[in-house]
C-alpha cells in the first residue's frame, strides 16, 4: 500500500483524484467502494448556508488511522484512503471521503461502512451550522453510536 492513508484538509476534496490514486493500488483490485459524506442544505429541517467543522489536531488523524488499521486486520484490503475536510463547508461540498479497495466486493463494502461508523462517533470532529435561525453545534446522533454495535 502506498501514499498517505489519512488526510485532514481545509481545501475542497477532489474525489476523482482520490479515487484514481486508490485504484492505482495494483492489478488485483476487483472492487472499489467509495463513500462521500456531503454537506446538505438543511440540518434537521432547518435551511443552513454552511457547516463549520472543528477538529482536534493530532488526535483526529490518530483515531482515523487506528480504525483504518483495524479495518485492514478484519478484511483483506489492498488499499484504503480517508480524507476529512475541516473549516467552512458549503452545501453540496464533500465533508468526508472514504475509499476501500479489495479483490472482492464484500470486504470493500464492509470495510468502508466500518470506517464510516467509527469515524462518525469516535473521531474528534465537531460541526456547527451557519445561517439557520441560530448558529448551533450539531448534536450527536444516537443512531450513529448504535451503528457501532454490529462490529463488536
Amino acid at each position: 500500500m502506498s501514499g498517505e492513508t489519512v488526510t485532514i484538509t481545509l481545501e475542497p476534496i477532489d474525489t476523482n483524484k482520490e479515487s484514481k490514486a486508490i485504484t492505482a493500488a495494483g492489478g488485483n483490485v476487483g472492487a472499489l467502494v467509495s463513500f462521500s459524506g456531503i454537506c446538505r442544505a438543511d440540518e434537521k429541517g432547518e435551511e443552513i448556508s454552511a457547516l463549520f467543522l472543528e477538529h482536534y489536531p493530532g488526535m483526529a488523524e490518530q483515531e482515523i488511522s487506528a480504525h483504518v488499521e483495524e479495518a485492514k486486520r478484519r478484511w483483506p484490503l489492498l488499499s484504503a484512503r480517508v480524507v476529512h475536510r475541516v473549516g467552512r463547508i458549503e452545501p453540496g461540498e464533500t465533508i468526508v471521503f472514504v475509499a476501500t479497495a479489495s479483490a472482492h466486493r464484500e470486504a470493500a463494502f464492509q470495510a468502508a461502512e466500518f470506517i464510516m461508523d467509527y469515524l462518525k462517533s469516535s473521531a474528534p470532529f465537531w460541526k456547527r451550522t451557519e445561517g439557520g435561525k441560530r448558529e448551533a453545534w450539531v448534536e450527536a446522533n444516537e443512531k450513529d453510536e448504535r451503528a457501532l454495535d454490529r462490529w463488536k
Binding site: L53, Y56, A60, H84, P124, F125, W126, R128, A140
Partner: protein, 83 residues
Amino acid sequence: MKIVYFAWLRERLNKTEEDIEIPASVQTIGELMQWLKSRGEEYEYAFDNPKVIRAAIDKTHVQPGAKIAGANEIAFFPPMTGG
C-alpha cells in the same frame, strides 16, 4: 497540566487551552471535571452536565474513571459529530 477544550466547551470557557496546577486530591477525569466546575461561573456553565462531556488523555479517549497521573495533555469536548 495542559488542558484543551473544543466546540461549545471552548466557547463557554472562551479559551482553547490552559495550563493549570491541579491539587493532588484530584485523581480521575471525573474528579477533574467536578473540580474545574468549581473554578468560576464560566466553568460552572461549561461543566454543567458532565455526563455529556467526553475526555481524552494524550489524544486517546478515556472514561471518567481514568487516572490523570502522568498525563501531558487532557482534552474535554462534546460528543463527536464528524463525517
